[in-house]
């Protein structure tokens, strides 16, 4: 660029010649140069502003376009890593402690119809009734021909039925995929599992929600996608559960009982290895709950958890354990046991009169109501209530079943001295068999409180010490004596040193008072007594058997033989070796296979 000088010589010279001031020329030139500079700066700034405007415009257009696309396109779920929801089953499986399937999902189809799309509604209705005989033909025909837009026909159909419906070939019949809950083992552990049903239903899917048992208690957990499809591992052992149910069903039939329940619990962890309640049901086809009458008549009723009964003499060991713990008695202390014992206007009687006095051990062995009442008198009502509270008898069991809160123990309105005496031998306080199992586990494991649970957890946290280890050991020795020379002699299973206590409680009439001929026979025991591993509670509801010339209802003749058979069958399955010293037939290995060699 050629720079114009501020004082061009030619113009200066001519200005000087004319006598003008040459400085004016310089000023004029400075002004012109300044103007030119300003002009350039202005146009540069203008250009920049324009560019800036363009950039903003472009940015806004981009944002607008993006917004338009987002608004105009159908929503799509973001795809993350890992398995998408389509891959995982919507409800987690339930397995037993060995990982065997107890509940799983099966893909099936739901059948629905869109009558406006139908070609031959009348013929279709007739053909559908042929495939599904339980459908009502007139109702179906009405649904198809009265202008309804949408009709559900079947919630679950099998692949064979699907094919048959396909073969009808009507375009108005449509299928929606469904995941249905399947309990492959049928009625086994029915009360534990509960059941499931469809919740919100759409054409493409339906939610499955638990209706009872662990299915309901863990409903949220089972449906939580965050678990990544991990199954719920229960503490139940399928083979043991099945064996217990088989024997219990046989025993119930043999003893003419109207119901039965059994609980097998690990004494250290409180894990329930088997829990059966009879009569039972098939969770795949859950019956409807009773709307009137006694709910305990329904097979849905879980006697082990919901049924609260006066459990009778099985309670005596708690009174004795507490007296031992408080240092009031020792196993050899003599207790007055003259029957009947009169207390105010009440009389406490024994099954037989056991004479003037009995040792504490013999009070348990002979199951003396009078002796127990005397021991409870020494303890006092307040302390007894506290102790039973520590064993868990004052609140519903915290087990993970939706029915558990309904198994609320029935306590006396006023815990007076006479009610404390009757509670001492198991009358006046109603509790569920699971309560009893938990309390027996506490004594069997050396006095540590356990929490009953249905979930298998390899980590175990020992509970608070309720009675000292020494007291627990002495209580166990007494229960062992009940089996060796007392009311539970049928429970002496060779090799497994069973310890336990029987209880035969007269059933309470709904109108008040007690039945004469209806009892709840219970056996509560633990094995092996040298190092207790499991507690077994077995109850028969209204058993009666004709043995040795008379009708027998007491637990020693009814519940105990069944419990012994249960222990004989399941102890080997639990991996417990029989103790060779109490197993006289264990001189050599016996050939037990029935196969002829």
């Amino acid at each position: 660029m050629i720079r114009t000088p501020l004082r061009p010589l030619a113009r200066i010279l001519s200005a000087r010649a004319k006598g003008e001031n040459p400085d004016a020329i310089e000023r004029e030139n400075i002004r012109l140069r300044g103007e030119a500079l300003r002009e350039t700066a202005r146009s540069t700034a203008e250009g920049r502003l324009f560019l800036m405007g363009l950039v903003f415009l472009a940015a806004f257009v981009t944002v607008c376009l993006r917004m338009a696309t987002l608004a105009g396109t159908p929503a799509q779920e973001p795809q993350g890593n890992g398995l998408g929801p389509a891959i995982l089953a919507q409800r987690a499986d339930i397995v037993d402690r060995e990982g065997r399937v107890l509940a799983t999902n099966l893909v099936t189809h739901a059948l629905y119809a869109q009558p406006p799309m139908m070609i031959d509604p009348v013929g279709t209705a007739a053909k559908l009734v042929k495939i599904f005989p339980d459908l009502n033909h007139d109702r179906l025909l009405k649904d198809f021909t009265t202008g309804r837009k949408f009709v559900w026909i079947k919630k679950k159909i099998s692949p064979e039925q699907l094919q048959l419906v396909h073969d009808i070939g009507d375009p108005g019949l449509l299928f929606g995929p469904r995941e249905m809950r399947l309990y492959p083992n049928g009625a086994i552990a029915a009360h534990v599992l509960g059941g499931a049903r469809f919740g919100q239903e759409g054409v493409n899917s339906a939610e499955v929600i638990g209706t009872a048992g662990v299915e309901k208690a863990f409903d949220g957990w089972l449906r939580d996608p965050a678990n990544n499809g991990a199954p719920l591992k229960l503490s139940i052992d399928l083979s043991i559960q099945s064996a217990v149910e088989e024997i219990l069903a046989g025993g119930m039939k043999l003893m003419n009982a109207k119901g039965a329940t059994a609980i097998l619990m690990d004494v250290h962890t409180g894990e329930i290895v088997a829990m059966a309640s009879l009569p039972d049901f098939d969770p795949n086809d859950r019956p409807r709950p009773l709307v009137k009458g006694d709910p305990s008549d329904s097979p849905l009723f879980n006697r082990a958890v919901q049924g609260v009964y006066e459990l009778g003499s099985t309670f005596k060991i708690f009174a004795v354990s507490q007296a031992l713990e408080l240092g009031l008695v020792s196993p050899t202390t003599m207790i007055p046991s003259q029957s009947p014992m009169t207390w105010g206007r009440f009389k406490i009687r024994d099954f037989h009169n056991y004479g003037a006095q009995l040792s504490v051990t013999d009070v348990i062995v002979n199951s003396s109501n009078v002796g127990t009442a005397r021991i409870v008198q020494m303890i006092g009502p307040q302390k007894q209530k506290e102790f039973l509270g520590k064993l868990g008898f004052l609140a519903p069991t915290p087990v993970e079943l939706s029915e558990a809160p309904t198994g609320r123990p029935i306590l006396p309105a006023k815990w007076s001295e006479i009610s404390s005496m009757t509670i001492g031998y198991g009358h006046g306080l109603s509790a569920s068999p699971l309560h009893l199992a938990t309390a027996y586990a506490t004594i069997a494991n050396g006095g540590r409180k356990v929490t009953p649970t249905l979930v298998h957890d390899p980590k175990h946290h020992p509970g608070e010490q309720v009675v000292s280890e020494d007291v627990a050991k002495r209580a166990l020795a007494m229960m062992r004596a009940v089996v060796t020379r007392g009311t539970a002699s049928f429970a002496d299973v060779k090799g497994y040193q069973v310890a336990g206590k029987t209880g035969s409680a007269d059933k309470v009439k709904p109108t008040g008072g007690y039945y004469n001929d209806k009892v709840m026979a219970t056996f509560a025991g633990t094995f092996p007594v040298t190092d207790p591993k499991y507690v077994l509670i077995l109850s028969l509801d209204e058993p009666s058997t004709f043995v040795a010339g008379e009708d027998r209802r007491t637990a020693g003749w009814t519940a105990v033989p069944v419990a012994a058979e249960v222990i004989r069958r399941i102890a080997p399955l639990l991996g417990l070796r029989p103790d060779p010293t109490t197993m006289e037939s264990l001189d050599g290995i016996q050939l037990v296979s029935a196969k002829k060699n």
Partner: protein
């Protein structure tokens, strides 16, 4: 010089654009593939679920019990009983190596017959020896 620079820049932009599109299409291909694989996993998982359910159904204790009863003549299976537990002391010691003529047979002192060996379960052997 400047022209070369412009040309080079333009080529570079074209190259980068080509690379970017290439990567984009490759990503889309992979995504399609992934979707296919996921669908396949889903259907396989579904099949696996059905097979598991079927396995559990066929192995349900009720059915096994019935099968055991039906095939009692052939199998002779009975429930496990406490008497079936034995102790290690009841198992026979293997014979001294010098007495062995043939191949070793399950640690039992039975004569091996010319290489063809009939295996007999240990417990049965012991039982036969018992008085």
């Amino acid at each position: 010089m400047r022209t070369i620079l412009y040309l080079a820049t333009a080529l570079c932009v074209m190259g980068l654009a080509f690379w970017a599109y290439h990567v984009n299409y490759a990503t889309q291909d992979r995504q399609t593939e992934l979707r296919k694989v996921k669908n396949e996993i889903a259907s396989l998982q579904e099949g696996l679920g059905v097979l598991r359910a079927e396995w559990a159904y066929l192995n349900r204790p009720d059915r096994l019990r019935e099968l055991v009863n039906l095939n009692f003549a052939a199998l002779g299976l009975l429930p496990l009983a406490p008497e079936q537990f034995g102790s290690a002391a009841q198992v026979a010691y293997p014979a001294p190596p010098a007495a062995m003529t043939g191949p070793l047979v399950g640690g039992l002192d039975m004569p091996a017959t010319s290489g063809r060996v009939k295996a007999i379960p240990v417990s049965h052997q012991v039982v036969e020896d018992m008085p």
